[in-house]
Every structure is written in structure tokens, then in C-alpha cells.
Symmetry: C2
Subunit: 415 residues, 2 copies
């Protein structure tokens, strides 16, 4: 008998039929002898509608009231899911954030979970009752509703699984798992059966929008295995047909490279010829941070002009105008010779925990891209990731070539 | 300085523009030096959508989960209203049923308010803060969300006004007040400036769907004056342009008759020739009550057949089939000679607290109807009301003739 937290995302509870399908999966887990806590998102479209109401009143609305408004989406699904389970003969009830309670800090709109009281939940789960918990919401010490930020239902699910010391947290979604590359780009992309939290974090933040980053961090911290799987089709979580995100040491057949991520929608900015003195990076990036520009890759090169340096960094293309405004208004950088922008770049990343102990991973990447005549504009590396910036037009070609070069179609044989 | 509870119904908060219009009225009350608590309904259409979801899952859904689902409609409006007030420079916050708390019994779906903790609310109101409370919802002692039944936001508002010992409860709606007759039938119908709780109760239950019956009962018990007024147009509650429902003694210029109500959609059933013995009425109506048939007027006549009696009663036409099924299956009534049904009847009622002390009110009614050649099928009276059942085809003619006969156009001169 296992204790499982099963989370259903917005498309998995988009209408009553889908809520009933999701409930059927929970029933099968219960019939298999498992204890189940269910976490639900809002029906797809509902949160956007509620956010739109708030923005219509004022883009600067009180975020505490925003939390009151938007948390109702998950509340609705929780009640409906409990009904759907009861209809199928299961004892179930909804537990709102304030009823459990799921205590958060008071950073409304982006709250962090601080504590989940599991005593009563454990009692009910042990008695065979299914607990249905709305994702995304909690309550502050002051007794006000808080929300965890967009996509926060994944975080709710993993946090609840950690607090309950669950055996597994199943994240039912509209994809069948985590893939070695985007299947729309690489038709041969394979589902990865097991992946480490660290790799998943790199893939999550690199545009593979399967799991919310914070939920993976929380999984890494608590060690609760997270399974990403499709809510469509016949299987249930315990069939283990999805991708299991887990501790590195529990992955026996570790490949060197797990996946190729690509991220379009980047823009590259180079500030040419700034004085090469200590503190120049801080002077450059502090005003950008203050303007909430999300700076990603940063590379500093020696400039061809003596005593100066060139700073290159990327920002999401949607932040480009804001970034340029900051840089042009920043009188400190009047000294710069030029600010160059390239809006036509893509970031390609090779991710794999195995590259820690394998040499030549980077070299394979560079050789592969060179063989296709693809120029690398910027390189940035971490322990388990190599990212390069290339011309956006070559992004799909690069991903396919790299997928081949690292033999990632091998994953299809494991799964 | 007065303490006012202002309640806005579904059509008054149907979209963001209307929520902002409603907020503007609250702001003007605050600027006039009043303390204001706002009670809001769900945006129109929202509750129906949520109820529909529940019914889709199962018509026999768990009513505790129904309360979780449907209460979210008012929760959304409460957050939005608080934002709209803040945007206009008012300090405001939402107070959900469980946050105040508004304690109810545990009859989910149709709960009754037992206690409202006003200490913190009073503190905030005294400090100039506006409290925004979602109508229709409360919390049980077990800490679960409860709702008060459809139309319950009126009840929430009056209960809150009573608990806060407010000077007035303003019910903003889509009509300008309570009228001497349905203005769609009687173009000369006048708005009644003041009416007693007792009269309002008779009018409310007689098809003038302006205020929920329970809210009027609660007003009568607590003595808090309730004003019905339009949320459209320029005036605010303190301009007293609507209809004030209040204690009889505070109405100085009391007319004999306040209004003429008519109720279509009735059906008349006569059970002919049942044994005239003690207990026959109980035997007849108990199975109907068990089948949740809403029996209204009841009249018992001596039958033309010796030793037997005829029982006549009315039911909503929508309950007719169910009622007939009960009667036909009831073997006790095989003895009855016949069961006659008339689906083409209307109930016309003359309501007025003044008729307690004025003779001839009933006679005027009978004479007026006779003069128009309208046959009366059933008569039923209370202290402040006379109701008759007539052929539905003559309903509008009857209402207009009675409106004339009692000189109700006089009200237009007072207002």
C-alpha cells in the first residue's frame, strides 16, 4: 500500500467529463489499495478569466484581494472532484487551503508554503478517505487566502506529498512525460523514463514547460519522486508509464545526456567597450534587475579596445524594449562605444547529469554544430548543462543534429 | 453618521463596469460620513453555471461540496469589489464567511445564520474601513463552508445589518422599489415609499420577487429598516429614493391597502366527496408534503353529497404532475368521487396592514370583480391580505380594476 498524491492540471479538469475521467483514475488507485490525496488546478481558462477581471479593475490591484478572487478557480474544481469521486462510491471530501491549513508566508500572489498540517489528513487517508485539495492556494498566519503564483498547483502537490511523506507525487498533465527533445521539432524524441531533479530543473527553466521549477526544487529537497504522466489514455500513475523525476542515485541506467532543450524568443544584447574595472557588471545589471528585466546568459569578453570589455547577455524578447530603455537612460554607460542587439537568436542546451563524469560532451556539441555550418555566438556552461546561442533560423536543425549526435533515440528502447 | 449595510444583487455586479458603478455609490456613502459594510452577490449567471456543473456530475451531489463550489461566485465578487473601492481611494477589504465568521447551522445548501462575530468588523468600520462581505455564504461549527439557499444574499445583508445594529440595510437591485402592483400590468402602479415588514412578507411570498422572504422575516425580528432601491441611476441609499420596509408604527401615512399582487402559474385541485371525518385534511396533505409539493391556498367546503366534503387547494403548476401522481397512488382517496383540476387560474391578492382596522376592504374587492364580470373560485383571507382565485385570462383586468378601486395611484403623489 502506497500513499500517492495525484495532481490534475487545468486541461485534465477542463470540463465535467474530464473531471469524471480524472476521478476514475483516482478510483483505480484506491482499488489498487493505495491511499490517495488529490490536488486540482482550476478548469482551464478559469484562472485567466479571473486574472483578467482583476486587471480590468486595475493593473495595480491589491494582491491580497487578487488571491481571494483567483483562488476560487481551484476551490470550484475541488468541490466538483469530491462530488465526482463520491458518485463513484469513494468517500471523499474537499480540503481548502485554510481548512487544512496550508500555511504560507504573506507574500500574496507569490507566497511560499511554510507548513502543512497533516494530522487530520493522515487520519482520514488511513481511514480510506480521499482528500481533495485545491492547488495554488494557502492561508497566511493572519488568516487571509494566499496563492503561490502561476503554475503553483504543481508546487502544492509536491509540497503536500513531502508533508505527507508520500511515496510518489503523480502530476497528470496533457503530455505523456518528459522528452529528450521537443517532439514537435524532433519526431524521434523519446520519453525519458527516469530523470534526476537537477536535470529536470535545467530542462524546466530552459523552456520545457512540463513542471513548475519550484515544484522540482521542492522535490529535490524532500526526495519525493515526481511522476509526469498523461491524464488521457487508460493507464494510472501506479502503472509508471510517465517520466519519474527522482534522486540521481536511484537512476541505474544513467545516460550521459538526457535531453536537448531549445528556447526561442531570446534577444542578445552586447554592450561594447565599457571600462574594464571592478564592479562594472554590477553597475550594468543592477538597473536591469530593478526594472524586472529577466537576464539569462551573461558572458564577458575582452574587447578589441584596450582597457575596455564587451558585456553580452540575453533577455526574453518580451523584455527587450524595457532593457534597452534602461541601458539608454543609464548615463553611466554613455562611455560605451555601442550597444548591439540581436533579436534573432535561440538558446540550445544539452542537459545531462552524466556529463559531470564524462569528458567530450561539449566537444561533441561544438563539432556537431560546426558540421552543419551553424555559428555559435555565445557559450555558457554549468556542471550538467551546456548552452549555446545561435541564429534562430538554425534552431530546429541544431536540436535534431544534437539529438542524433548524443544517440538519444536510445531512450526509446528503455521506455 | 450612520452605519449602513449596502447589498448589491447579481445584475448590479454583472460585469466590471457595474462593479465599479456600485463601488462609486459606496464611495459617496462614505464621503457623506457613513460607515458602510457591503454585501455582494455573484456576478449574474455565475451561480447558475456553478449549480449546473454540480448537477451535471450528479443531481444527488453532496450538498457540502455544492456549498464549496457555489460559494465561490460571491467570493470572486467580494475580492473585485474590494479592489474597485481601493482604486477609488477607499480603505476596504473582503471578509469571507469563515473569516468573520458568519456561523450557520449545518443544514448545507439551506443553512440558517446563527451568529455573526462583529467585534473586528466594528473596529474596522469605526476606523473608516469598508468591509466587503460575500452574500449567501457562512461557515459551520465544523469549519465547512455553508450557503443559505438561492437568493440568500438578501438574508446575509439583513442578518449582517442586524448583527452590526446598522441604521439601514440598502438592497440595491434592478427595480426602483416595491410597487403597488406589477408595473408591466398596471402602467399607473406607484412606488410605495414605506411599507411594513408584514405587508412585504405577504407581497414577497405572493410573487413580487423583490426581496427574499427570509430576509424580510429577519428584518421584522431585528427591526432594521430595509430599503429596496435601484442600483442604476445617480442616487445613493441615503437619498431614500427607494421603498423602505420598516416597522408598522414608523409609517405615519398608512394607506388601507398597500398593493395588489398577482400570481400566475397556479393550478387548482379539488378532491370531491371525501369522507367528512376528523383527520381527513392531514391524510390528504401529508403525502403531498412528503413529495415536496408546495401547497398554497386550502379551502374546505361542504359537499353536495351528504357526509362528505370537498377539499380545494392550489399548487404551483410546475408541481401539478407530481401532486396528481401522489393523489392517484394514494389508496386512501379511492373513496373520493372525483379529482378535478383547473390549470387556468390566477391568484389575486390585496395586501394592506390598514385593513386590520378598516371594514369593507374585502367587500370592495368582491364588488369590483363582480362589476367586471369576473367569477371568484376560491377566497382565502389573513389579517392583512385577501386572496382570490380567478380565471387566469382575467388576471390583468382584475389587477388594474382593483388598483383603481383602492385608489393606489395616490401613492404616486406621496413619493
Amino acid at each position: 500500500m502506497a500513499l500517492i498524491v495525484a495532481k490534475f492540471g487545468g486541461t485534465s479538469v477542463a470540463d465535467i467529463q474530464r473531471i469524471e475521467n480524472a476521478a476514475a483514475k483516482v478510483v483505480r488507485e484506491v482499488e489498487a489499495g493505495n491511499k490517495v490525496a488529490v490536488v486540482v488546478s482550476a478548469m482551464s481558462g478559469v484562472t485567466n478569466q479571473l486574472v483578467d477581471y482583476c486587471t480590468q479593475i486595475s493593473p495595480m490591484h491589491d494582491v491580497r484581494e487578487y488571491d481571494v478572487v483567483v483562488s476560487s478557480g481551484e476551490q470550484i474544481t475541488a468541490g466538483l472532484m469530491a462530488m465526482a469521486l463520491q458518485k463513484k462510491g469513494i468517500t471523499a471530501r474537499s480540503w481548502l487551503g485554510w481548512q487544512i491549513p496550508i500555511l504560507t508566508n504573506d507574500v500574496h500572489g507569490k507566497a511560499r508554503i511554510e507548513d502543512i498540517d497533516t494530522e487530520e489528513l493522515h487520519k482520514r487517508l488511513n481511514a480510506g478517505e480521499v482528500a481533495v485539495v485545491p492547488g495554488f492556494q494557502g492561508v497566511t498566519k493572519a488568516g487571509r487566502i494566499s496563492t503561490l503564483g502561476r503554475g503553483g498547483s504543481d508546487t502544492s502537490a509536491v509540497a503536500l506529498a513531502a508533508a505527507l511523506e508520500a511515496d510518489r507525487c503523480d502530476i497528470y498533465t496533457d503530455v505523456t512525460g518528459v522528452f529528450t527533445a521537443d517532439p514537435r521539432v524532433v519526431p524521434d524524441a523519446c520519453k525519458i523514463p527516469k530523470i534526476s531533479y537537477e536535470e529536470m530543473l535545467e530542462l524546466a527553466s530552459l523552456g520545457s514547460k512540463v513542471l513548475q521549477t519550484r515544484s522540482v526544487e521542492m522535490g529535490a529537497k524532500s526526495g519525493v519522486p515526481i511522476q509526469v504522466l498523461s491524464s488521457f489514455g487508460e493507464h494510472i500513475g501506479s502503472d509508471l508509464k510517465g517520466t519519474l523525476v527522482t534522486r540521481e542515485e536511484s537512476i541505474v541506467e544513467q545516460e550521459v545526456v538526457s535531453g536537448i532543450a531549445h528556447n526561442l524568443g531570446e534577444a542578445k544584447i552586447t554592450v561594447v567597450g565599457v571600462k574594464d574595472v571592478p564592479g562594472v557588471a554590477a553597475r550594468l545589471f543592477e538597473p536591469l534587475a530593478k526594472a524586472a528585466v529577466n537576464v539569462d546568459m551573461i558572458v564577458q569578453n575582452i574587447s578589441s579596445n584596450a582597457g575596455t570589455t564587451d558585456m553580452t547577455f540575453t533577455v526574453p524578447r518580451t523584455d527587450l524594449q524595457r532593457a534597452m530603455k534602461v541601458l539608454q537612460e543609464d548615463t553611466d554607460f554613455e562611455e560605451a562605444l555601442d550597444i548591439r542587439v540581436n533579436e534573432n537568436v535561440a538558446k540550445i542546451s544539452v542537459v545531462g547529469i552524466g556529463m559531470k563524469s564524462h569528458a567530450g560532451v561539449a566537444n561533441t556539441m561544438f563539432k556537431t554544430l560546426a558540421a552543419k555550418g551553424i555559428n555559435i555566438e555565445v557559450i555558457s556552461t554549468s556542471e550538467i548543462k551546456i548552452s549555446v546561442l545561435i541564429d534562430e533560423d538554425y534552431a530546429e536543425l541544431a536540436v535534431r543534429a544534437l539529438h542524433d549526435a548524443y544517440g538519444l533515440e536510445e531512450y526509446c528502447k528503455i521506455a
